[in-house]
Symmetry: C2
């Protein structure tokens, strides 16, 4: 539903001089007279969709609500500044729950030097919903957007993919430091963070950039979690299929000019590995090279809101 | 519950150099290197608490979700810049509902030159919840806070109070223009917007400022809606009691040095009337002068979150 709604909304809203980059990316870039640019992003996480309050420790839930926003700031290569947090809490045990949520997110805020600047705390008859808005500063190196990829750019990713249900969906480290490092030291054309599924998110990056993407399936870094979940889960997805579609990996996808990509890959300057997984193509759409070396179309898969 | 929670949270959070003014006011003031100050505020409105989706037009609900945030920016005398909006929508008819909400808020955003900079749209099993975060710029005249009142300051209000259930709770005009005008032309010590109830919100302003407040009950501007609701409602509240406790008036309360207050009252430079309703006192707590001229204590009443 969200995609259809955002399509509608982009048409419905007029351009506004306060917004350098509005709907459609991981976060918005604001610019106004007498102020440096700041980046703002928001995510609303809800019970039974993004977490299960019966199953998951509220501290892990709280951490996740901030972490997904920091991951969006990372996708823009912006420096986290502050966050505001709104809670809609079931009435029974509301105070305790609110405290536990914050106990989970405060250490993450401290780790990334993010100010908790405010919020709104409410009780109601409904299930738990948590809305976090994070604000970041654009660095002198500028912000990374998802619409800057060009044909022949190399597609690279941090980390590994698939099986985030086994825990990474809560305990991931948002790639803020990595994004700031990469943006400061390399020429990067476009970036996003993988929240909905690697193939789906890459197809969005390509579409926003007016190009296509071809993934080399043999090079996709499949996580150990994807293997274990495939072995134990009844859903009959291969580990590679999980890596391409599970989502909530919160790793970065980067589109980098090919020479720069060589430099970046040989440097491997980050603590997390960076892997080349494909290229951008002039022809729109998503394709792949399979393990027999054949090029074929690839259906983008992932979580549709 | 919220008051207790915010008390806890203020102790729990360390001071942060990014935040000039954090929890406890209508909005936060952010300051960071190489950027002008910006103001950020957030409100989460939920079905059956802030509105009733069975009874109220989604356009009016949508308008309200932005308007309450603009009212918070007005309370800081900051210029609205942008807003991000997150929706948790019941699955049935979600797209239509989201569109109607935005159709209600877009005209208000246009009226106040606010960019809708982003958001997050979700469906779930729960009732409707709408989270709006608004960002404002601090003007050269600085931001108004709620903790700057001093004993002998005059307390003044815009507009009239009580009976907002009859419609003003949705259709109020946030006092953004008035606040910017007043802050540019007068020396104002403190301000807030009345969301929870006039007496409750004034007691908060006094408490944050380390002083008390004494209201002259004969001077409280009671709205026509308060009279009509008192006549028709079974709750047996007088119109004055409604003015003091109903809340959702979204008018400004100002604490102004007495000479400046005289000038402001004689100028009456705004379209909306400004009324003197009391003074700040050295003695903490809320008191009133009743219609027989007697000073007595007044219990703060309003909506406790």
């Amino acid at each position: 539903m969200e995609a259809e709604f955002v399509d509608w909304l982009r048409k419905r809203l007029s351009a506004h001089s306060n917004v350098e980059l509005g709907l459609g990316d991981d976060a918005a870039i604001l610019r106004w007279k007498d102020a440096a640019n700041c980046v703002v992003t928001t995510d609303l996480l809800t019970d039974q969709v993004d977490f299960d309050l019966e199953l998951h420790d509220p501290r892990r839930i709280g951490r996740k609500t901030l972490a997904v926003n920091l991951s969006d700031l990372a996708a823009m290569a912006s420096r986290p500044v502050a966050a505001v947090i709104s809670l809609a809490l079931p009435r029974d045990g509301a105070l305790r729950l609110a405290q536990e949520l914050y106990e989970g997110l405060i250490p993450l805020a401290e780790e990334f030097d993010v100010a908790i600047a405010g919020g709104d705390t409410n009780c109601w008859q409904g299930p738990l919903a948590v809305s976090v808005t994070a604000i970041g500063a654009v660095t002198p190196h500028g912000a990374l957007r998802r619409d800057g990829a060009r044909p022949n750019d190399v597609l690279m990713v941090t980390g590994t993919f698939g099986g985030s249900l086994r825990g990474k969906q809560f305990d991931f480290t948002p790639r803020v430091r990595e994004a700031l490092d990469l943006n400061a030291n390399y020429n990067i054309h476009a970036a996003l963070d993988v929240s909905d599924g690697l193939s789906l998110d890459i197809s969005r990056l390509a579409q926003e950039s007016g190009c296509g993407a071809c993934l080399d399936l043999d090079t996709i870094p499949v996580s150990q979690d994807a293997y274990e979940l495939s072995a134990s889960s009844p859903e009959n997805l291969t580990p590679l299929e999980r890596a391409l579609s599970d989502g909530e990996d919160f790793e970065l996808v980067l589109a980098v000019p090919s020479k720069e990509a060589e430099r970046l890959l040989s440097d491997q300057a980050l603590e997390v590995p960076i892997t080349r997984i494909g290229v951008c193509t002039a022809q729109p759409g998503l394709t792949c090279i399979d393990h027999r070396g054949r090029t074929r179309s690839l259906a983008p898969r992932g979580f549709e809101h």
